[in-house]
C-alpha cells in the first residue's frame, strides 16, 4: 500500500537549518505527492511508528549503553493499544545496531534501563510525577495529552487535520543530557524552547 520513501535528506551543519526546514517542508510536500496521499492508518499505528522512528533521531549520552549492541528500551505506561502495536512493529528491528525492546510499566517508577518513556493518555495524570522523579536521567518522555509538554514531556503527539503530528519542548531534552536531530525538529508540528 505504501511505497518506500524516495527522498533522502542529507543534512548540512547547524548554520543551514533554515534551509533544512524549507527542505523538510518540500520533502513533506513531495512525500505527500508521491504516493501517500491515500494512505490511511489508525492513530494508534501512526503513533507507534513515530515512537520507533524517534529512536534514530535522539542521541543518549555515551555512558547510557554498556555495549554497542545493548538494547534501546521503550517503557510504556498506560496506552496499551499503542504498546501492543509498538511491540508488533519493532519485532526484529534494530536502530543503529541496537535491538528495540518494548516494556509495559505498571508502577510509578521508571526502571533505570529505560531510555524512552511513553505515557498514554489514560495515564496522563501520572506524567508530572514520573517526570519529576526521573528529572536528571537521560530519559526521553513522550506523551499524548493536551498539556503533555507542560508536565515534563519532551515530545507530545497532537492531531492536526486528521494527521498525527508531534510537538517538541527543548528544555527537558537539554536538561536530561539528550540531543535531538534537526531533522526531527523540522518535521515537528511546533518546537518550543520551554514547555509551554
Amino acid at each position: 500500500v505504501i511505497e518506500s520513501p524516495r527522498h533522502a535528506a542529507p543534512v548540512p551543519h547547524c548554520a543551514a537549518r533554515r534551509r533544512l526546514l524549507a527542505g523538510a517542508i518540500a520533502a513533506l510536500l513531495a512525500g505527500a505527492a508521491i504516493g501517500t496521499a491515500n494512505a490511511q492508518a489508525t492513530e494508534t499505528q501512526v503513533k507507534a511508528a513515530y515512537l520507533y522512528k524517534f529512536l534514530a533521531f535522539v542521541e543518549w549520552p555515551l555512558q547510557t549503553f554498556t555495549r554497542p549492541d545493548s538494547p534501546i528500551v521503550i517503557g510504556v505506561l498506560g496506552g496499551q493499544a499503542i504498546s501492543e502495536e509498538l511491540a508488533l512493529l519493532t519485532a526484529g528491528r534494530q536502530v543503529e545496531g541496537r535491538p528495540v525492546q518494548v516494556r509495559r510499566l505498571s508502577s510509578d517508577t521508571v526502571p533505570a534501563d529505560v531510555h524512552v518513556l511513553f505515557v498514554g493518555a489514560d495515564a496522563a495524570d501520572r506524567l508530572g510525577k514520573l517526570a519529576a522523579a526521573s528529572k536528571d536521567r537521560p530519559l526521553l518522555i513522550v506523551s499524548e495529552s493536551q498539556e503533555g509538554l507542560l508536565h515534563g514531556g519532551a515530545i507530545n503527539f497532537v492531531l492536526a487535520e486528521d494527521r498525527v503530528r508531534f510537538e517538541v519542548a527543548l528544555q527537558p531534552i537539554e536538561s536530561r543530557g539528550l540531543r535531538v536531530s534537526a531533522r526531527l525538529l523540522a518535521v515537528a508540528h511546533r518546537v518550543k524552547a520551554n514547555p509551554l
Binding site: I2, L28, A39, A41, V46, L159, D162, H189, A193
Partner: protein, 649 residues
C-alpha cells in the same frame, strides 16, 4: 529500513547558538483522541508504517472508527474547522467571537451581547436556518428555530474544535440544518486534567473562567468549570446608552469512563444571566433575565470489526424573561441513537431519535403566543450509505424522514459524490433537499399579545423548502498549504412572508434563489509565519409570489452583504511571543443600509513562564466604532482592548 540521516544534533543550548529558532506557529493543532483499538488491527500496515520516514508519517491521514464513518477531510461538503489553537491565537473570549474565525459564516454583532449569525445569507437576529450543537446537544430554541447567542456559552479553553458546515446537513442533522451546521466539540475530560484559569480584564468585557480536572481511577476522568462574564453597554450612533450591558455566570462538569470498546460521557451545565435595567429613570423597564440547565449522557461502543453504536439522551431547560418581547420557558427531552456499519465497499450509518418539548411563552409588551402553552414532539429516522465506487470515487446517498406536529412527515434526501484526484485534492458535488419546519414563532405569534392584532399568527404556515446544488474542490494532502472553494445554488420555495395588517397572517409566499461562492486558504511558508484568509460572495434573487399582500417583501428575510473577506496573519517573532493580526472586510448590508466596514483585531501573546501566558488583545483597532447590524438606534461596536492571563498547574 530507511537509513537515517541524523545530521546536526541539537541540545537546547547549542540550538540557541545556532541563531534562527524554528518555532512553529502551532498551525492547526488539535488534540488527540486516543482510539483504543484492538491491537490485532492491520498488522501488515503497522509493519509498513515502520518503513516510512518521519516526514511521510506526518502526512498519513488517520481514520477514526469512533466518529462518523467519513473523516472530515473526505466529506463531500463545505466544512471549515476552527481549531483550539486558532481560538487562542485570535484572543476570542466568547463563542460568537470564535465563530468569526470561520470564513463560511456571517457573524454580525447586534448589540453588546446579541449576535446575528448565519451561513449563506438570511442573517438576522432571529436567523432560523442554521443548526447549532454543543457536544451533541442542539442549542437552537425550538419556539423560533434560532439561537439566543447571549445565552449559549462554553468554557472556551476546553473547546477542542468547532466544525462549521455551510450548506445543508439535513440528512444527518435534520430540519433546520438548511444553510449550515455549527458543531462545538469540547475535549474529553481525560484531556483537561489539572487546573486552568483564564482571566480577562478589558475596557468593555471582563471574564474569569476556572477549570479543574482529575481522575477517578483507571479510565475515568472528570472536570468541573465555572465562569463569569460581565460586559459594558454599547451606545447608539447618537451617543445614547443602549442598556445592553449585562452579565452571565455558568458552571458545568464533564465525566468520562472508557474501557477499551466502550465510552460513557456524562456532562451538564447550569447558567444564569441578566442585562442592565432598561428604560429611563422616569419609565423604568425590567432587565432581560435568562437561566437554564442541561444534563446529557452519551454511550459509544466501537467493535473490532469497525462497527459502532452511539446512544445519547439529554434534558435541557431554558427560561428567558424579556418583558419587552416575550417570556418563554422551555423543557426539552431528546433521545437519539445511531449505528455505523463498515463493509468492504459500503459504510452504512443509520439511526433515529425522538424529541419532546414542553413550553410556556408568556407575553411581553410586543408579542404573545396563542396558545400560551404547547407540547411538541419530533421523531426521525435516517440512513446513509457511503459507497466506494472505485478506490478514488465515493458516492454517499442518504435519506432522513422527520415527523413534526405542524406539517407531519418531511423528507430530507441528499446525494454526494467525492472524487479524490491523487495529488490534486478532492473534487465533490452534492444535491440536497432541505426544509425549515415551522416553529411556534411562525404559527402561534401575535402582535400585540391581545386583539386587535396587527399580526395574528400563521395557522397555514408550511415548511420552507430548499433544493441545493453544490460543487467544491479542496486540497487534502499538504499541511503547509490548504485551501477550499465551493460554488452553491439554493432554490427556495415557500419562504416566510407577511400580509397587510390588520390581522395579517404569516404566509409562505416568497420564492427565488441564492447563489454564491465561498473559498478559503491557509499557507505556512515557514514555521514562524502563517497566513490565512477567505471570502464569500452571495447573490440573492428573492421575490414575492404573485397574489401576495406582503408590504415588506424579502427584506424581512435577512440583511446580507454581497461580499465579505477575512485575512489573518500570525507571526512568531521570538520563542515565547506570538502576534496575530486579523482583518475583516464586510460589504454593505442593503436593507436597512449598514455601511461596509473594515475591522482590525490584534493580539500579542507572551508566554511569560511555562505555566503562565499573558496577552494583550485589541479589537476594532483602527476605527472608533462601527455598526454591524440593525436599524434605527442601533448599537455601535466600539474599539476595545483586553489583558488576558492564562495559567495552568
Amino acid at each position: 529500513m530507511n537509513r537515517m540521516t541524523p545530521g546536526c544534533w541539537i541540545g537546547a543550548r547549542r540550538f540557541h547558538r545556532c541563531g534562527a529558532v524554528p518555532l512553529s506557529v502551532a498551525s492547526r493543532g488539535r488534540l488527540g483522541l486516543l482510539i483504543s483499538l484492538a491491537a490485532a488491527a492491520l498488522p501488515a500496515m503497522a509493519q509498513s508504517l515502520a518503513d516510512l520516514s518521519l516526514e511521510e508519517l506526518a502526512t498519513i491521514q488517520i481514520t477514526s472508527v469512533s466518529r462518523r464513518p467519513e473523516s472530515l477531510s473526505d466529506a463531500a461538503a463545505s466544512i471549515y474547522v476552527i481549531t483550539a489553537d486558532a481560538i487562542r491565537r485570535s484572543g476570542a473570549t466568547s463563542l460568537p467571537q470564535a465563530l468569526r474565525l470561520a470564513p463560511n459564516l456571517q457573524v454580525a454583532q447586534v448589540d453588546a451581547s446579541q449576535y446575528a449569525i448565519s451561513a449563506r445569507g438570511f442573517n438576522n437576529a432571529i436567523g432560523n436556518k442554521l443548526l447549532v450543537l454543543i457536544d451533541g446537544r442542539t442549542v437552537y430554541t425550538p419556539f423560533f428555530s434560532g439561537v439566543f447567542w447571549d445565552q449559549q456559552d462554553v468554557m472556551l479553553e476546553d473547546v477542542d474544535r468547532i466544525e462549521v458546515i455551510s450548506g445543508p446537513g439535513s440528512t444527518l442533522w435534520g430540519a433546520n440544518a438548511v444553510n449550515g451546521v455549527i458543531n462545538v466539540i469540547t475535549r474529553p475530560a481525560r484531556l483537561t486534567q489539572g487546573t486552568r484559569v483564564a482571566a480577562d480584564a478589558g475596557t468593555d468585557v471582563h471574564h474569569l473562567a476556572v477549570r479543574a480536572g482529575g481522575a477517578f481511577g483507571d479510565g475515568a476522568h472528570w472536570r468541573l468549570y465555572a465562569k463569569h462574564r460581565h460586559w459594558r453597554h454599547t451606545e447608539s450612533q447618537a451617543g445614547a446608552s443602549l442598556a445592553d450591558g449585562g452579565q452571565h455566570s455558568q458552571a458545568g462538569f464533564r465525566a468520562g469512563w472508557s474501557s477499551g470498546t466502550d465510552l460513557l460521557v456524562l456532562q451538564g451545565d447550569v447558567y444564569d444571566g441578566r442585562s442592565d435595567r432598561r428604560g429611563s429613570a422616569a419609565q423604568p423597564f425590567p432587565a432581560v433575565e435568562w437561566s437554564g440547565a442541561n444534563l446529557l449522557a452519551r454511550w459509544t461502543r466501537t467493535s473490532a470489526d469497525g462497527s459502532n453504536w452511539r446512544v445519547q439522551g439529554y434534558v435541557d431547560r431554558a427560561r428567558r424573561d424579556d418583558a419587552f418581547l416575550y417570556r418563554p420557558e422551555i423543557d426539552i427531552a431528546d433521545f437519539e441513537f445511531q449505528n455505523g456499519l463498515s463493509g468492504e465497499r459500503h459504510k452504512v450509518l443509520w439511526g433515529g431519535g425522538v424529541r419532546h418539548a414542553r413550553d410556556r411563552i408568556r407575553p411581553g409588551l410586543i408579542f404573545g403566543f396563542h396558545p400560551e402553552r404547547r407540547s411538541m414532539r419530533w421523531a426521525n429516522l435516517f440512513v446513509q450509505d457511503a459507497i466506494a465506487l472505485t478506490p478514488d470515487l465515493a458516492l454517499t446517498v442518504g435519506l432522513k424522514l422527520e415527523h413534526n406536529g405542524f406539517t407531519g412527515l418531511e423528507t430530507l434526501p441528499s446525494a454526494r459524490l467525492a472524487w479524490k484526484l491523487a495529488d490534486r485534492g478532492l473534487l465533490w458535488a452534492a444535491l440536497s433537499r432541505a426544509v425549515r419546519a415551522p416553529a411556534r414563532l411562525d404559527r402561534d405569534i401575535s402582535l400585540p399579545p391581545q386583539p386587535p392584532f396587527i399580526i395574528a399568527g400563521g395557522p397555514d404556515f408550511d415548511s420552507e423548502l430548499a433544493h441545493v446544488a453544490e460543487v467544491g474542490w479542496r486540497s487534502q494532502t499538504s499541511p503547509a498549504w490548504t485551501w477550499s472553494a465551493t460554488l452553491f445554488h439554493h432554490r427556495w420555495d415557500r419562504l416566510r412572508s407577511g400580509e397587510l395588517p390588520p390581522n395579517a397572517q404569516v404566509r409562505n409566499q416568497i420564492e427565488g434563489s441564492t447563489s454564491g461562492f465561498e473559498a478559503w486558504s491557509a499557507w505556512q511558508p515557514v514555521a514562524a509565519w502563517r497566513l490565512s484568509g477567505g471570502f464569500t460572495v452571495l447573490h440573492k434573487r428573492l421575490r414575492l409570489e404573485s397574489g401576495s399582500r406582503d408590504p415588506e417583501g424579502p427584506r424581512s428575510l435577512g440583511n446580507d452583504p454581497r461580499l465579505q473577506a477575512t485575512v489573518r496573519a500570525t507571526f512568531q517573532p521570538a520563542a515565547q511571543h506570538e502576534v496575530e493580526l486579523g482583518v475583516r472586510r464586510i460589504g454593505e448590508l442593503p436593507d436597512p443600509v449598514v455601511p461596509a466596514y473594515t475591522a482590525v483585531d490584534l493580539r500579542w501573546g507572551w508566554q511569560v513562564r511555562p505555566a503562565i501566558g499573558v496577552a494583550l488583545a485589541a479589537f476594532n483597532l483602527l476605527d472608533a466604532g462601527h455598526v454591524e447590524f440593525g436599524a434605527a438606534g442601533r448599537s455601535v461596536q466600539p474599539r476595545h482592548a483586553q489583558l488576558q492571563v492564562r495559567a495552568t498547574w
